[in-house]
Amino acid sequence: MNWGSVAEFLAMGGYAAFVWGSYAVAAACIAGEVALVLRRLRRARGEAPGASVR
């Protein structure tokens, strides 16, 4: 285990902006891509938003 506390983990040894800036943008890109693909699939099937994609 590398971290003594949650605050220490979040601080990333002073590189918080760089480390979390990378991972946050990656998470947003992936979430966005998944949302766009699911929406496109729903539209292609002519379903209402919120309908399950199977």
Binding site: N2, F9, G13, F18, R43, A44
Partner: protein, 243 residues
């Protein structure tokens, strides 16, 4: 074997097959990513010279590898479509392009945020960074060309030529750190030498690489299903499938 391939080369047969495969790849991606992040943040030690900033590589290296690998696969499908004139090939190439572009962007973005604390700069016009930026433009050009041509089969053929010409950029990216004196360092992992990093760092990175593979397959299969429905919307089987 060949007959199985021919069967699934038809969009009608591939559509349900892709639907069955997606949950497996999606779950594998989620589990591998959680394991990779756990190893990357809680097991792998602090780097002696880079401190905690090095933890960006667990994102950067998989993104950079996928950006190149997806391009090769995309160009492969595009080329196959050009030669065999199969409908599914162009759809597969279209389905891969946005995911490849996203990983290229993430490789550039995470590289910039890693470069700032490590090199002292977000960006430098060195061979590795510049050729990776060109890769992003190739993806965007491929997508734009497809969108610009009304007839999808003609769009497939035109964009396939672009994709195939762009393949020349992949070895340039890969070997740039050997061919030129770049600020970007050489490969940390190769097939011919022992990895230049701690075992737990390598494990975290490889878990993230496999997660990126599984994610790419899952999301591309989902996108190709949408593309199949969009392009074959007038076919009887589609009207039955979505009824």
């Amino acid at each position: 074997m060949a007959s199985v391939l021919y069967t699934y080369a038809s969009p009608q047969a591939f559509y349900p097959l892709a639907g069955r495969m997606i949950p497996w790849f999606a779950w594998a991606a989620a589990i591998l990513a959680l394991a990779g992040l756990y190893v990357g943040f809680f097991v792998a030690p602090t780097d002696a010279t880079q401190g905690e900033a090095y933890r960006i590589i667990f994102l950067h290296v998989p993104a950079a590898w996928m950006s190149m690998f997806i391009y090769v696969v995309m160009a492969g499908w595009a080329g196959l479509g050009l030669v065999l004139n199969t409908r599914l090939s162009g759809m597969m190439a279209s389905a891969l392009a946005p995911t490849g572009a996203m990983f290229t962007f993430l490789a550039l973005w995470s590289g910039a945020l890693w470069g700032r604390p490590t090199w002292g700069t977000y960006w430098v016009w060195d061979a590795r960074l510049t050729s990776e930026l060109i890769l992003l433009f190739l993806y965007l050009g491929f997508i734009a060309l497809k969108e610009a041509i009304e007839d999808p089969r003609r769009a497939d053929r035109a964009s396939a030529v672009l994709a195939l010409v762009g393949v020349v950029n992949i070895p340039i990216i890969y070997f740039s750190v050997q061919w030129w004196n770049t600020l970007h360092q050489g490969a940390s992992v190769s097939f011919t030498a022992a990895p230049k990093m701690a075992a737990t760092m390598l494990a975290g990175m490889l878990l993230m690489v496999f997660a990126a593979w599984m994610y790419s397959i899952a999301v591309s299969l989902a996108r190709v299903r949408a593309i199949i429905l969009e392009r074959e919307r007038d076919a009887a089987w589609v009207r039955e499938a979505i009824a």
